[in-house]
């Protein structure tokens, strides 16, 4: 696509130097949100003001108040405490899935540029095949086979994130693997490992970072969705999705209740996406590497003109 015609007013031209992402308020807000979530993941259950499992028959469906900041649920349990106590499981299992996807996807993605055509062909077909399995169906099917725990459910989610990591890393690697300085290094007798480590990895890392952030958002959505469906967690234990699911049964008594877990999930996911967008837009290597859907040619696109198609789109197609 042509690079300058459709530019929105106010965005900078392709020649302008990218600004540091630290100047963006959205990045600071996103980091603040994510730090808070990480803090809650570590200390949440210890800091919870009340016992997240304590039932109080005298305080059902209470609205937000000084005593119950987020109100109480259908058993009179304090929703704030339940949200805090549920943070750790959501965050840890989301990280589990992202870790699996990163290792299974990014490593072959880098390797494929150096291992020859056959490896590339097979890896691409495996990625294609995995992408025909919608994550939610696959995850539920795996819990049916292996047993109903959240850890089991997030393994398939991680496996299905891998092709997305693979595609992005492969496209970025291919671009650098064919550049002149890599050729020069090879002529000078550098080994493949040296070329990958020194010349390629450093260039590909920003792409991997962007993908990791948007995949973390996708994984968090997946955890919330799976726990919402009742996969992997036994009822009294609090999870973000589980709280939402139980609120749904009592909408006529407390129609506002689902908005609290819903908003917290959305804010966390939004923070991760904002961070990914900022990195993509502003870092010098952030220009999106795309594989043209029609011609299969790798091309670079100015991210400010084209809506993010690759990393971001795929993260949403997972969600």
């Amino acid at each position: 696509m042509s690079s300058s015609n459709g530019r929105r007013p106010g965005t900078r031209g392709p020649g302008a130097r990218p600004q540091s992402i630290w100047r963006l308020p959205s990045v600071w807000i996103a980091i603040a949100v994510l730090t808070a979530v990480a803090f809650l993941a570590v200390f949440g259950s210890a800091l919870a003001p009340q016992n997240p499992l304590a039932i109080n028959a005298n305080a059902l469906y209470q609205g937000p108040s000084a005593h119950h900041l987020f109100g109480t649920d259908y058993l009179g349990r304090d929703v704030l405490s339940r949200m805090m106590a549920g943070t750790r499981l959501s965050v840890l299992t989301a990280l589990e899935a992202v870790g699996i996807g990163l290792v299974l996807g990014a490593l072959p993605g880098i390797a494929t540029a150096f291992l020859g055509r056959w490896f590339d062909f097979i890896a691409n077909r495996v990625a294609d095949a995995l992408m025909t399995l919608p994550y939610i169906f696959f995850a539920v099917a795996v819990t049916a086979a292996l047993g109903n725990t959240l850890t089991h459910a997030m393994i398939p989610v991680g496996i299905l994130l891998a092709p997305l990591f693979f595609r992005v890393t492969r496209a970025a690697t291919l671009e650098h693997a064919r550049s002149q300085y890599v050729e020069a290094a090879e002529l000078l007798g550098a080994s493949k490992v040296h070329v990958i480590r020194v010349h390629v990895l450093r260039k590909v890392l920003p792409n991997i970072a962007v993908t990791t952030a948007s995949m973390a958002a996708a994984a968090l959505l997946a955890v919330s969705f799976l726990t919402f469906l009742g996969i992997g967690v036994q009822p009294p234990a609090p999870t973000w999705g589980g709280i939402l699911s139980s609120d749904l049964d009592y909408l006529s008594q407390a129609p506002w209740a689902p908005f609290i877990p819903g908003a917290i999930i959305a804010i966390t996911v939004g923070a991760l996406n904002a961070l990914a967008d900022a990195f993509r837009d502003r870092s010098s290597a952030g220009a999106l590497v795309l594989v043209d859907p029609v011609t299969q040619h790798v091309r670079r696109t100015d991210p400010r003109n084209l809506e993010p198609v690759d990393g971001d789109r795929q993260s949403q197609s997972v969600a």
Partner: protein, 345 residues
């Protein structure tokens, strides 16, 4: 990025180069689709093998499960294992399962003995109803919003659409569903909050029950379509042939539809294809929120009892759907790019 890359450059293009243009178009299309189908073989094989492999991975013993605690004598278990074919090597079992599945036989539930194909065909219309209506809604809502935003670039409508799109893309599908329930069913009592009536019973009732789930399912896709259409339409509208058409004095409507929208539609259509797996997840969410008796609920019910034939059957049907939809989208895209100088070609 498409899931299955049907259209490959190279041999197909070269093969058609010698024949006259009109014929060439037909032949290259054939060669391309044929080539695409060949590419599909390993994908289908791998995807189905993963689905089948789940059964082998599961540590439950089918014969013991079917027979139950009391009747599971060693002789009975051995006999049933022979009937089920579990004593064969895995690859043989896989081939048997796949060929049976291709003929529409997905086995029977371990618990109810109901044929899996029958349970799936009972549930599928529910999902198809909301999915088809959702696609229509997404094209109408997203297409209109994206086109108007692009035409009134920088205006308040444009800003509103951009805002709405970013909010919608962070909200999980099930949260959107719940918000719709709260808005239209609990607060206003306009539409039913849950349940389902088949279209054969009453078309009007059917629409009434599926409109909210479909809307919940379509909103995110609408946002994606609107965003993509806005971007590509803005780009197309700046092109010389649009200016040329305006200079020639063509009617505005004709310029928009024949010249601008047609050329800008490709990327938005790709989005629709890419969003299909996401829509399946959305359908599961919609089923859960609106308690619809669809495939997702069937999967969840059978996963709870670890009824592997049903689980495998649902997964097989769903992944087949994804493959077919991608094939359709790719073929349509191919046609679009052949017949226009659309973006990205």
């Amino acid at each position: 990025m498409t899931v299955i890359d049907l259209i490959r450059p190279g041999p197909a293009r070269a093969a058609g180069a010698a024949t006259p243009p009109r014929q060439r178009r037909g032949r290259t299309a054939m060669v391309r689709i044929g080539g695409g189908l060949v590419v599909l073989v390993p994908i289908v094989a791998l995807s189905t093998f993963i689905t089948f492999g789940l059964g082998a991975l599961s540590n439950s013993d089918p014969a013991a499960t079917i027979l139950g605690q009391d009747a599971a004598t060693p002789a009975a278990v051995a006999h049933l294992n022979r009937v089920l074919g579990v004593d064969h090597p895995l690859v043989v079992q896989y081939w048997h399962w796949l060929t049976q599945a291709a003929q529409g036989n997905l086995g029977r539930s371990w618990f109810t003995q109901i044929p899996v194909a029958q349970s799936i065909s009972q549930r599928l219309p529910v999902d198809l109803s909301i999915a088809i209506l959702a696609v229509i809604l997404a094209i109408v809502i997203g297409g209109t919003a994206g086109a108007v935003a692009a035409i009134r670039r920088g205006g308040w409508f444009d800003r509103g659409v951009t805002m709405a799109c970013s909010v919608l893309s962070t909200l999980p599908a099930f949260v959107i569903g719940i918000i719709l329930v709260v808005l239209f069913a609990v607060t206003v009592h306009l539409l039913p909050a849950n349940g389902y009536v088949g279209p054969t019973t009453s078309i009007l009732q059917w629409l009434k029950y599926i409109i909210l789930p479909s809307l919940a399912l379509s909103l995110q896709v609408s946002a994606d379509i609107a965003r993509q259409l806005r971007t590509s339409l803005v780009e197309v509208l700046d092109r010389n042939y649009i200016v040329g058409a305006k200079v020639r004095g063509l009617p505005y409507r004709r310029i928009m539809i024949r010249h601008a929208l047609r050329n800008a539609a490709g990327p938005a259509l790709t989005i629709l294809g890419n969003d299909f797996p996401q829509m399946l997840a959305g359908a599961v969410a919609a089923e859960a929120v609106f308690s619809l008796p669809g495939l997702g609920q069937l999967l969840l019910e059978s996963a709870e009892t670890r009824d592997m034939p049903v689980v495998q059957g649902v997964l097989l049907v769903i992944s087949t759907f994804v493959i077919v939809v991608n094939l359709l989208v790719n073929t349509t895209l191919n046609w679009l790019y052949r017949t226009s100088d659309g973006l990205g070609a």
